[in-house]
Subunit: 228 residues, 2 copies
Amino acid sequence: MKKVVTVKKKALAANEEHAATLRTGFVSSGTLVLNLISSPGSGKTTLLEATIGELGKQVRTAVIEGDVETERDADRIRALGVPAHQILTGGACHLDARMISDALADTQLMPTDILFIENVGNLICPTGYDLGEDLKIAVLSTTEGDDKPFKYPAIFSRAEVTVVTKIDLLPHLDFDLEAVREHLATLNPSGRVFVTSSQTMEGIKDWCSFITDQLNHKRQNLSSTSTD
Amino acid sequence: MKKVVTVKKKALAANEEHAATLRTGFVSSGTLVLNLISSPGSGKTTLLEATIGELGKQVRTAVIEGDVETERDADRIRALGVPAHQILTGGACHLDARMISDALADTQLMPTDILFIENVGNLICPTGYDLGEDLKIAVLSTTEGDDKPFKYPAIFSRAEVTVVTKIDLLPHLDFDLEAVREHLATLNPSGRVFVTSSQTMEGIKDWCSFITDQLNHKRQNLSSTSTD
């Protein structure tokens, strides 16, 4: 067991190094990188479809999809005319920074203003793996139950943003949104929460405004640094 | 990377040994063991509550709960008057056979007729870890989407049974049940599928009849072996 822990620690340390290199590259290119993490079936791809639609042509977007198997999610993004690169992890339950470096060799992805990384559907494994992103985005569907932030505190305390999805199903569910907001505030007092439905588009505009604000903020920092 | 793979292989081999010992013990005690695996929030604990209620007092039941954090699920089972042991895995994304051995030291659990093991909410990591169970039960909620068997084929091809949950929400969802049945049949031609709702109790009787049949079958095998 000790050996497993040591090997895992080494893998994480190597990942940190790769992630730092990626982050430097994303600063140079002024690309905002969002790492979306959630359970399987929480609606990450559907949220991306709604988000890309709302962002429109004013910004360039690209997507890296992480899945154990199938190109289904990447195909859904490509159908919107947005470049998408599918990483198939085989058995691995998370993406790592080296996989992202390899994906960036796909010349269709870069340059882009916003790079969305849809991690493998998993609330545990992706948490510790930095991908050089600006923000970790936890996605939580109302259908998963309001106890998830308590049961998986690591991701909900590390994610700068939680996007609650499928809010249109609320009338049919026993899901206490206010309790979830309170739990999230306890786990991460500075965290932001967006409540959305990709069916009714509720909350999507606010979420997209937040993204463009983040992009502008990163670009401003970049230009102020380069003129220093 | 090679080193990680080697260490993982060794861990899996050690797990196989532990699991074999557990299985022998469960044969001696005539205990039917079901290992429930699913995404977070697919409704495993709610399914267990409905199942335990339907099975009634005719059989003894006990539950091992696997979670990263919190005793919430075990508390829900204990509220039914059924012994439950909570395993907190910390960061680990699955249970292993040694954790089950340790849990069995909890004298409240055994002897029992049926031992339910609710694995950590995760569609990937628990798949390869044998816990000495009779059957792996994949739980798939309608709210996760009908593409999940394709995207996570390992668990759906290994599980002898898939229980589809939250079927009461079907009118509000874009979920093709027949397509899921077909995918599951392709992945595992001999697999059984139960379609259930723990709200309306649809399908719970059939699922429980299947469980008691499995228990009787195991007991008959046991008595025929012991009289050989």
